[in-house]
């Protein structure tokens, strides 16, 4: 007997080690892969690996900051100018969206409609991955200490990323939407067809449960439906990349995620969301319908940049009112109709005032009755096609876009 053990010692060891692992695997499968049971040993490994990742990311960021902030400043001036122009455009767009949101809230209030609002987000840095292509997860540098809990939604400014699958003291594991075990309730932007988004073994994202009699055009946008109770309704998820006939009566729809899941650096974790009834903006209650309509009518188009520059250079000779201080001429340069329209000098008056109004959108409540921002509004709506794909109010958008304000750290 002893000689048998001696002779097949290696093989017996192999069988024992394999048997133990198979047994452990079978137990996990039977429990439905409840990760709470395997939490402790995961903590050991994650605790051993992530400090190095965190350190390397910190070093990388510090080095990058020093390089970009102190040495490599080529093109910064031009970029700054471009960004300022972009901010101007976005402010104009925000004014228009505020009006739409106010109207939507009034209607929601009438219908006693309840909506989920993103109350608080925590910004986090991505520090690692699972290292395998069969588990599409990432690790972030915020955990239980920052108020993160399991099943919280994770997004970027581009769209949905995934959900928190495991939480450690100062790290969390995020299950990406392209993992084959993930699932997100979505609806198609225009058609409002509901479906479930999931990943595949090779990391593609597909939309399931859509019947073949539905019309799903390529390029159609997908938004979260809110049905999964993880993601609030209306967050951008992606666009339809390919549509084919799948099994049975269902379509095979491939989705291009809105967020670049392979190159994530910073993400936002939605730590608090509230369900509350929409509050109507009373300021517009006494407004006449004609005023609302007037605010939405297309206005006199902008003057071209050259004309603006000429007007600014020789205000006295033209007799037109000058632009007030603080009005950026570059915003006119990039006005949508600047190349095609020649506006009379008198049209400058509403435009400049509109620019002033739009320069501080946070304080200027968008009132449909306010006729001042009219020309600029139309310009903005022409210039920038609707940039916010979500039906959420802009307050949500701005909240999500400004994570640092809510970051507890």
């Amino acid at each position: 007997m002893e000689s048998v053990f001696g002779r097949y010692k290696n093989l017996i060891w192999l069988v024992i080690v394999l048997f133990v692992q198979v047994l452990g695997l079978a137990m996990q499968v039977k429990r439905g892969n409840d990760q709470e049971h395997t939490r402790l040993i995961r903590i050991w490994v994650v605790g051993a690996i992530t400090p190095f990742e965190r350190g390397l990311v910190w070093l990388e960021n510090s080095g990058g900051d020093i390089w970009h902030n102190y040495f490599y400043l080529r093109g910064v001036r031009a970029e700054n100018r471009q960004l300022k122009e972009q901010i101007e455009q976005m402010r104009l767009e925000q004014v228009r969206l505020s009006e739409d949101a106010a109207q939507a809230r009034r209607l929601q209030n009438l219908l006693a409609f309840k909506e989920q609002y993103i109350d608080k987000t925590v910004a986090a840095q991505v520090i690692g991955t699972s290292g395998t292509d069969s588990n599409r997860v990432i690790y972030i540098d915020k955990g239980e200490n920052s108020g993160i809990k399991r099943d919280m939604a994770v997004i970027t400014s581009d769209g949905v990323v995934g959900k928190v699958s495991l939480v450690f003291a100062s790290e969390s594991q995020i299950l990406l939407i392209n993992d084959q075990t993930s699932g997100v309730g979505v609806l198609l932007g225009d058609e409002r067809t509901q479906g479930v988004l999931s990943g595949t073994a090779n990391g593609r994202v597909v939309l399931n449960d859509v019947m073949s009699d539905n019309q799903v055009p390529v390029g159609e946008k997908l938004l979260t439906s809110g049905g999964d109770r993880i993601f609030p309704k209306g967050l951008p998820v992606g666009t339809v990349a390919k549509v084919g006939r799948g099994k049975d009566l269902f379509l095979n729809i491939e989705i291009k995620p809105a967020a670049d899941l392979s190159r994530l650096e910073e993400v936002l974790v939605l730590t608090e969301k509230q369900e509350r009834q929409a509050v109507a903006d009373d300021s517009g209650r006494n407004m006449r319908a004609a005023d609302i309509l007037a605010a939405r009518l297309p206005s006199v188009p902008d003057k071209p940049a050259e004309a603006n520059a000429a007007a600014a250079a020789a205000p006295k000779t033209a007799g037109a009112p000058t632009q007030p201080a603080g009005t950026n001429a570059t915003s006119n340069t990039h006005a949508p109709n600047a190349a095609t329209n020649v506006a009379p000098p008198s049209t400058q008056t509403p435009k400049t005032s509109a620019t002033n109004t739009s320069a501080k959108p946070q304080t200027t409540t968008a009132k449909p009755g306010n006729s001042q921002p009219k020309p600029a509004k139309s310009a903005a709506s022409d210039q920038a096609p609707t940039q916010s794909p979500t039906p959420n109010p802009p307050s949500n958008q701005s909240q999500a876009a400004a994570p640092n304000t809510n970051n507890p750290n």
């Binding site: 010692k9 290696n10 060891w13 192999l14 080690v17 394999l18 692992q21 198979v22 452990g24 695997l25 079978a26 996990q28 499968v29 892969n33 990760q35 395997t38 040993i41 995961r42 050991w44 490994v45 994650v46 051993a48 690996i49 190095f52 990742e53 390397l56 991505v126 520090i127 690692g128 991955t129 699972s130 290292g131 395998t132 292509d133 069969s134 588990n135 997860v137 990432i138 690790y139 699958s165 495991l166 594991q173 299950l175 993992d179 084959q180 075990t181 595949t200 073994a201 090779n202 392979s262 190159r263 994530l264």
Partner: protein, 173 residues
């Protein structure tokens, strides 16, 4: 008398210091988890923990030591994911056992042998992983020969270079 295909010098069993025994697998796991942040396809084609498993198993030439090394590294790799623990553990246990058994019988010190051994064990590892993930855990898996051979070649090239680097840490018994 045991017949081997290695010379007396090549059959020599090596050992490693404790920092190397712990540090190298940890470093492999760390790089495997970190590099895909910058190069997303890295995890699709390269398996550093597998290369480290093969290296330690071949150098020690002890099947028990090889399978235990593979088992520990594989389980650690499983823990970085979100799924069931043990799929990589089983696959790397088999590889560790096989590589150390092969190390006893064959000369695995030259570049050509190392290249072929790594290519072969990458395919074995993928096959075992595929079987366990699909058969036991019911994960959806797709097998692609093209991807398997391509990734195997990448790992074999990388492994051959890596083994010569890791040879510096070998200590004669």
């Amino acid at each position: 008398m045991q017949i081997t295909y290695t010379s007396g010098e090549q059959i020599e069993v090596y050992r490693f210091s404790i920092p190397v025994t712990i540090g190298v697998p940890l470093l492999a796991l760390f790089l495997q988890a970190f590099i895909p942040l910058r190069f997303p396809n890295f995890a699709v084609y390269v398996d550093l923990p597998l290369l480290v498993t093969i290296f330690f198993a071949m150098a020690r030439r002890n099947p028990i030591s090889g399978l235990l090394t593979g088992s520990v590294i594989g389980l650690a790799q499983d823990m970085l994911g979100h799924g069931a623990i043990g799929i990589y553990g089983i696959a790397k246990t088999v590889v560790g056992y096989g590589a150390s058994s092969l190390g006893v019988k064959l000369d695995v010190e030259n570049a050509g042998a190392r290249f072929l051994v790594t290519l072969g064990f990458y395919l074995i590892h993928s096959a075992v992983y595929f079987t366990v993930a699909r058969g036991m855990v019911n994960m959806t898996q797709t097998w692609s020969w093209l991807h398997g051979i391509l990734a195997g070649l990448v790992n074999a090239v990388l492994g051959t270079a890596l083994y010569f680097l890791l040879d510096k840490f070998k200590q004669r018994t």
